[in-house]
Symmetry: C2
Subunit: 147 residues, 2 copies
């Protein structure tokens, strides 16, 4: 699994909120229900994203969460890093702590090349760019396939 569950949920939340009207707070309970996610767990993910400055939150009635920046200013890499850390983009594929230029594991050179593709994907894609290809994609954020 490339991303943790928490991270999958976080990315989906960011995409969902990008389709909500700007500068309006959406209750995270409503988001979790729309996305079919367990609220209590999802709420922690939202907290993490708020702490790292990707979401802003507001308590009380008519409060909720909202994107803290313009969706064109937020890359997937930022979301992933906020939740899963940087290991996906930095770590040896065999988990060898000493692996690097000086002491490469047998996969190092080729994996570095592949990892560049992975990094490029996450760095290049922004929340806005991912939503661009039509909002027919919005429904595809739900976990269960609908008929």
């Amino acid at each position: 699994m490339i991303l943790s569950k928490a991270c999958e949920y976080g990315v989906r939340a960011m995409l969902y909120l990008a389709s909500a009207p700007r500068d309006t707070y959406v209750a995270s309970r409503a988001v979790s229900e729309d996305l079919g996610l367990p609220y209590s767990f999802f709420a922690k993910v939202v907290q993490t994203l708020a702490h790292s400055g990707l979401l802003s939150s507001q308590r009380g009635p008519s409060g909720g969460v909202a994107l803290a920046k313009d969706p064109s200013e937020v890359t997937l890499a930022e979301v992933v890093t906020a939740i899963d850390g940087e290991t996906l983009f930095t770590e040896c594929v065999l988990g060898l702590p000493g692996c690097g230029q000086e002491k490469p594991c047998p996969l190092h050179a080729q994996w570095t090349f592949t990892r560049t593709h992975i990094s490029a994907f996450f760095q290049t894609a922004t929340i806005a760019s991912l939503m661009e290809d039509g909002d027919y994609r919005l429904g595809s954020l739900f976990s269960a396939p609908e008929e």
Copy 2:
């Protein structure tokens, strides 16, 4: 983490055994010690690889494990699939079960492209091709960087 610990250990074992003389069994305890891995856990990984036909094993004195095929005939993808299954090469990056051509998630098209690179890396690399660039790499299979 791209690969599970079990899978990391399995790949390292395959590479290690590729550098051992052909048709000689090596005790898996010795392998685990050389690689700095916990034996009891490592032994299960070896079992899995033996069950899937990538290693052959022999009990008793002067027994052990050995590559079951020529290292040039074994791709990284086979090793990974034997231990972690195919999800790395097939699953939606957001974990959405309904994601596919008919109902793509916002990341689907771009991720499919990136995943092709990942698959190509694992499909193209064989145990033999990875060992080709010099046996100075053998030492780099150890977990602790040595001075």
